[in-house]
Amino acid sequence: MTATVQDLILSLPDRGDRAALLLRTSFRTFTWSYAELARQVRACAHWFASQDLVQGERVVFWAPNSPIWVSAYLACLASGLVPVPLDLHSAPHFVERIADETGARVLLRGRYQTALPVRGQSMPLDRLEWLTRPGEPERTAWPALRADDLAELMYTSGTTSSPKGVMLTHENLRANLEGIQPIVPPEPFYRFVSLLPLSHAFEQTIGLFLPLSRGGQITYLETLKPSALIDAFRKDRPNAVVAVPRLLDLLRSRVLGRLPKPLRAALSGLSPVLLVLPWPVRRALFAPLRAQLGGCLRYVVVGGAPLDRSVERFWDALGILVLQGYGLTETAPVLTANTPSAHRIGSVGKPLQNVSIRIDPDGGILARGPNVTPGYYQRPEATAAAFVDGWLRTGDLGQFDRDGFLYLRGRQKDMIVTPAGLRVYPEDVEAALNRQSGVRESAVLEWRGQVHAVLLLDPLKAPSALEIVAAANRQLNPIQQIRGWTLWPGSDFPRTPTLKVRKFKVREALASNLPSRAHPTRPTGRVAQIVQDLAPDHMVSPAGRLGPDLGLSSIDRLELITLLEEEFHVDIPDADVTSETTVAGLDEVVRRGESLPSSRPPTWQLNRGVVELRDIAQRELIFPILRHAVWLTVEGSENLRSLSPPVIFAGNHVSHLDGPTVLMALPPWLRRRTAVAALAGFYFPTSANPLENTWHWTLFDLAELFFNVFPVPRARGFRESLRHAGFLAEHGWSILIFPEGTRSVNGQMTPFREGIGLLATELKVPIVPFLLRGTHRILPPRAWVPRPGPASLRFGAPLYLPPMSYGDITREIEKAVIALAPTIEVRL
């Protein structure tokens, strides 16, 4: 018997300093070793205990994937608390309702998820991360958990009127992990890139527990746009990912997009032929293509939505095995899976060792095993309806082939699953339709992969079906949009004895060529379709302008941008989508977003050789001269002794001499690994005089060489320089910055710019405040020849600030600098 999830969590420290979790944000990469993950889990568990949460209490999670999400989740499981992970796309009122139904007193949320639970507190995860930072108390004693203790509650996403919470016990989780272990090949250490939300049972078991149980490494990404994805694949070289079909499609077009056109066509057409070649040959043949994905990718585990066979063949042809699996949240989640040694295209594989699958006379798939849920939370009727003689009704139809491979044949339940794995509940769409006047009843089902409505209208009152559908679509979310409809010819739908609509009969009628209509104005391109969903009353054409022709307001345009970003995984600047932008122009905007150029300041000045050269130049030449001009006294050096870089040095700016002076005051071990942020606005003033420009550039190159300066532009390119700052921090470089942004004219301090708050927050490094006085008299602005004189520099204690708004953090840093000299004049 394999270890329980609690055993797994408590044994994390055994793997020591090996990397467990990586977080790639747009600014930098953070690494959690197994030891650090274990420490954070203990600290989170201590925090939970300090909130008087007792064993069995529920904790709601509503946040994007991140290491702190994982730590808090594992802390819950290890201490017998019950996590309730909710989908990121849940509506706030749904979250509040679940928090209420489960009686949760703590809601852990992302920075941008906002909900107000009825009771208890709503805690942002970044704040929890700060509360559980190194040095905070840790939990040491753990409760003994029983196999049938509730481990977690899983609510599926969607807006259905009666959400059901699937109860999973500790035995369920353990059993499924045990079931998948034998079919996973024994790679020494797995590297995963996480693509699915952790609120998804597949991601928890295969993307989290499995890698942790093998000492593997998991990368979490802040954004899934293709450039970030490809970047992470290249750097972290994963050997496996867990995905939904939509993501595989996206990766395929990304990989193909880099090939010359003829080769692309050949590859898309040829894959069935290529499959004849032996696997090692294929792997060798397509090594360059796979190199784009890091070169180590061997397995893609897919589940959650039907997979197109051509997608499966494409990856197989490249020598990357697509292992389709099948399971439900109710089964924690895996029931069947293809394995590297036994897989068939189109099949979802064989049942796991400890799982039994049976097909009932109607073709329905029944499942039994230690991983099957005991039922739904506080819903005995739903639980009773879900089981027949101890077997779980999966609601899916299927059949086995002669060799025991399972093939899915559709669904008994009428939930609609989009290719992205998102669920549309027909009852929600029906409710919107039934509210329209003239609609007697409606039946919504999936037809040719789309949301389709079958309408039973009152002939006397009804407006046209088109108007009804358009009116209903206005009330529905983008993924719920009705894409086609059929008028029901009879006087009533076929019904069950309990008067429910028999949807399979309706479906049969549809199949027998009942005249149905696609949305007449429905455009073909995906971009145009998204626009259409936002402007249901207008005819969308490529030349249509968003404002004048389609009536989109500024807020509609913002929603459009976010929908496009979501769909195509790109970043789109606000300025690219104006009311004059045409639909065809949007295609261009999306394409541009996919190939965002990443200009980065040069890194030559960080080379070891350059560092040595700079060190010698500073010690032998620059500082001796500087000491003649600046008679410096340094206070607060003791605050520097226990620093562990990277840190940010932040202080006031009064003279050109400030950068060199602060560097001179730093102990060599800190100085050698410190870069200076300089406002590009000063170094690159666009002067009319080209000679002056050349002079400024030369100055800047010298500054790069001798003082390790990097440019921070005032507005444009700001993100690039932030990313560079992130790159520096990630590699242990400290940063010296003058957040006033400009030198003050008379030695007084001006307010700090909020960029410093942003840097401190996103880079998560401590701030060391300092205060410089006197240099403005030695070399005032616009002066060229220094007048030697005294100056003083004082370092404060490092600040470890809790998460606050950028503005508040900026004020805190400002206050800390001011506090170093109570007499300084402040002009605000």
Partner: protein
């Protein structure tokens, strides 16, 4: 001296629907503004920001502009220095709510009339 005005109207139910869209919230509002996630509050801030962009005649830079409430309930706006036109001297905004609508008016005062503004 030169004055710019801007006005904007926002529907509360529109913001209510968009409050499930984290991407939208992250784009438009600062974390502090989201401390009060009621749709009517967000609609007011949205209208205020739009009005300010109109008043200063600049393309939107949502994160650089923050709206907060002073002690007396009056809204105050802060525009990050990096985005501020150096000629901008003062900026004021007023917000009002009525049922399903929030409206905001903004006034920007510049030092002297510039080219093309």
């Amino acid at each position: 001296m030169f004055i710019g005005t801007g006005v904007d109207l926002a529907r509360v139910d529109r913001l209510a629907r968009l409050s499930t869209n984290a991407r939208f919230l992250r784009r438009v509002f600062t974390p502090a503004e989201l401390d009060d996630p009621r749709p009517s509050h967000l609609a007011g801030i949205f209208a205020a920001k739009e009005a300010v962009f109109k008043a200063i005649g600049q393309p939107p830079c949502w994160q650089a502009l923050s709206v907060s409430r002073a002690e007396n309930g009056r809204p105050t706006v802060r525009l990050d220095v990096a985005w501020r036109d150096p000629r901008l001297r003062a900026l004021d905004v007023s917000i009002s709510h009525e049922g399903e609508w929030a409206i905001a008016v903004a006034i920007a005062v510049f030092d002297r009339e510039g080219d093309g503004v």
